[in-house]
């Protein structure tokens, strides 16, 4: 170690203030190479291919086909619908849960946070498979319904199954920013409002809810865009019957082998999700500007 010390000029600047561009470039090189060759180039190829026919000539046909076909417009619409429903579901389950967490001791909070994050630590495939069992014909939900004397409905391979699976995965993405924004609320505000005569509900509607809006918005954006672009859970729980964009990217690329068309669908998906995130970051910036000048 000590011998190395004499040999190596470590990546720490020997003297602050003298920019050493070469060292910086050298250190950045692996990351730059990875992203140039494995991120920028593939995406560039994808976009280029989306403007080509199968034989390589330039065309806008792939997009025209996507936007002109009511079936594919329906797929786009359904993707947005499922993403919106998942977001709503996460909010409905996540908001009360975050409120509950807010009042707990750090210990309880830690455990519940771990529980919340556990779906993210377990293989997506296994997690979706678990729901396959839970909602399946021999699963606990069906058994309970049968025990009640009713005929169990088809629980799998429909929007509901996808929704359940997606809310399960996405809940953490909603609750974490919510918790962050609830924690930032001045704890004296609610007692202050109560002192002014506001009831519990009024306090919630007029103080807690509006002040946690940034967290809700952040959570909603993340959940929406991640859901719109997720593949594994909908593919396993929804199958071909639930028509979502990522699934069609996959089938066009691997089954139909229409790469240009798959590329075009993929690009539309990118535009939808990143457009949303960009809009969100702009919204955030405007919100901050108002806070400064207002």
């Amino acid at each position: 170690m000590a011998a190395l010390g004499r040999l190596a000029d470590g990546p720490v600047k020997r003297r602050a203030g003298t920019p050493r561009r070469r060292t910086g470039l050298l250190l950045a090189l692996p990351a730059v190479a990875i992203f140039a060759l494995l991120f920028v180039a593939p995406l560039f190829t994808l976009v280029a291919n989306s403007f080509r026919t199968q034989t390589g000539a330039f065309t806008l046909d792939n997009y025209a086909r996507f936007l002109g076909d009511p079936f594919y417009r329906g797929v786009l619409w359904n993707t947005l619908r499922v993403a919106a429903l998942t977001t709503a579901g996460c909010l409905l389950v996540g908001y009360p849960f975050a409120l509950y967490l807010r009042g707990r001791s750090p210990r309880v909070r830690n455990w519940l946070a771990l529980l919340l994050l556990s779906p993210l630590l377990i293989s997506m495939v296994i997690r979706a498979y678990g729901w396959l069992v839970v909602l399946g014909p021999a699963g606990p939900v069906a058994s309970v319904i049968a025990w009640l004397g009713l005929t169990p409905p088809q629980l799998l391979y429909n929007d509901t199954a996808v929704l359940v699976g997606m809310v399960h995965v996405m809940l953490a993405y909603m609750v974490l920013p919510l918790m962050g924004s609830l924690d930032r609320i001045d704890p004296t505000l609610v007692p202050a409002a109560k002192g002014l005569g506001a009831g519990g509900w009024t306090c919630f509607w007029r103080i807690t809810l509006p002040l946690s809006a940034p967290g809700m918005l952040a959570g909603a954006m993340i959940v929406f865009s991640l859901t719109a672009s997720s593949f594994v859970t909908p593919a396993i729980l929804g199958g071909p019957k639930v028509k979502l964009m990522p699934y069609f990217v996959y089938t066009q690329a691997t089954t139909t082998l229409d790469w240009p068309y798959a590329a075009a669908i993929g690009f539309v998906l990118v535009v939808v999700t990143t457009g949303l995130l960009l809009g969100y970051s702009r919204l955030l910036r405007r919100g901050r500007g108002e806070a400064v000048f207002g």
């Binding site: 849960f97 771990l114 293989s123 997690r127 069992v133 672009s229 690329a253 790469w259 590329a263 999700t273």
Partner: protein, 269 residues
């Protein structure tokens, strides 16, 4: 808070907890069923399906492939993340802003789109599917996390501490070793952990990169599920859950899982 609302809140939280653990609990329980189809509650108790897993060489080879690629992804991500984080945080070089922009936008691009992009790009380059291409594909998913965690770690480091070490007689390499590296230790462990989990778990990108004789574990399970509904998958799932639990316990000891995820969101200090 009234007592009633507290009880209601507790009940609600318990329901959410149940919802969160349901798929995993059911998977684990039904892996013990003696029936040849998956059922919950399990009927009878047997370890037959675990034996079954170990008798299927394709699952074992897929596990080996996945674990190998994930370990490599973890190691490479930590190293590349450290170098990239240091470069962005400490140095001015041409393209620095661009690198930062690309790293942060990588999160916004749907994985499925990356998958198909890589498929078409690799095909154009004439790169045949191999463990290496799989690793390369996974690095795109894992390196941004690692860089971000390292950047957060470096932001928390007081540069004076490095000056102090140098003043006390530590040459640059030892300053790095004794002061800089410990400050990003948590970030590196976290980055490596994320990378391992992400790579080991990835199905979306892998589906585009693999071939019939080169299948990662998630791909193998995914394909198996399309045709078979026997409890083998539940047994594999249980083993993977155990694997994850061990990883979480280890990480919790070192850094704290919640903190890890928090560090990805924002730097609280």
């Amino acid at each position: 808070m009234t007592r009633l609302s507290r009880v209601l809140g507790g009940a609600f939280a318990a329901l959410v907890g149940l919802f969160l653990v349901a798929p995993v609990a059911v998977t684990v329980a039904s892996s013990l069923t003696a029936t040849s189809y998956v059922t919950f509650p399990p009927r009878g108790i047997t370890l037959r399906w675990y034996a079954e897993v170990f008798q299927k060489p394709e699952f074992l080879s897929s596990f080996a492939l996945s674990a190998g690629v994930a370990l490599a992804a973890a190691a490479v991500s930590a190293v590349v993340g450290l170098a990239g984080g240091l470069a962005i945080h400490r140095y001015r070089f041409p393209g620095r802003g661009l690198l930062e922009a690309v790293l942060s936008s990588a999160f916004a691009v749907p994985t499925i789109v990356l998958g198909i992009g890589l498929l078409q790009w690799f095909a154009q380059m004439g790169l045949a599917s191999s463990p290496l291409t799989l690793l390369l594909a996974h690095l795109v998913l894992t390196v941004p996390y690692a860089v971000r965690l390292v950047l957060a770690g470096l932001a928390g480091l007081d540069r004076s501490a490095e000056k102090a070490a140098a003043g006390l007689g530590a040459p640059p390499f030892l300053v790095f070793w004794h002061v800089t590296l410990p400050a990003v230790r948590g970030a590196l462990i976290g980055g490596a952990f994320f990378a391992f989990i992400t790579s080991f778990d990835d199905l979306t990108v892998a589906l585009f990169v693999v071939t019939t004789d080169l299948q990662t574990l998630p791909v193998r399970i995914f394909n198996y599920m399309q045709y078979d509904y026997d409890p083998t998958v539940t047994a594999i799932g249980t083993l993977m859950v155990l694997f994850a639990v061990v990883a979480v316990v280890v990480i919790e000891r070192f850094v704290g899982v919640a903190k890890l995820f928090g560090a990805g969101q924002e730097d609280t200090r």
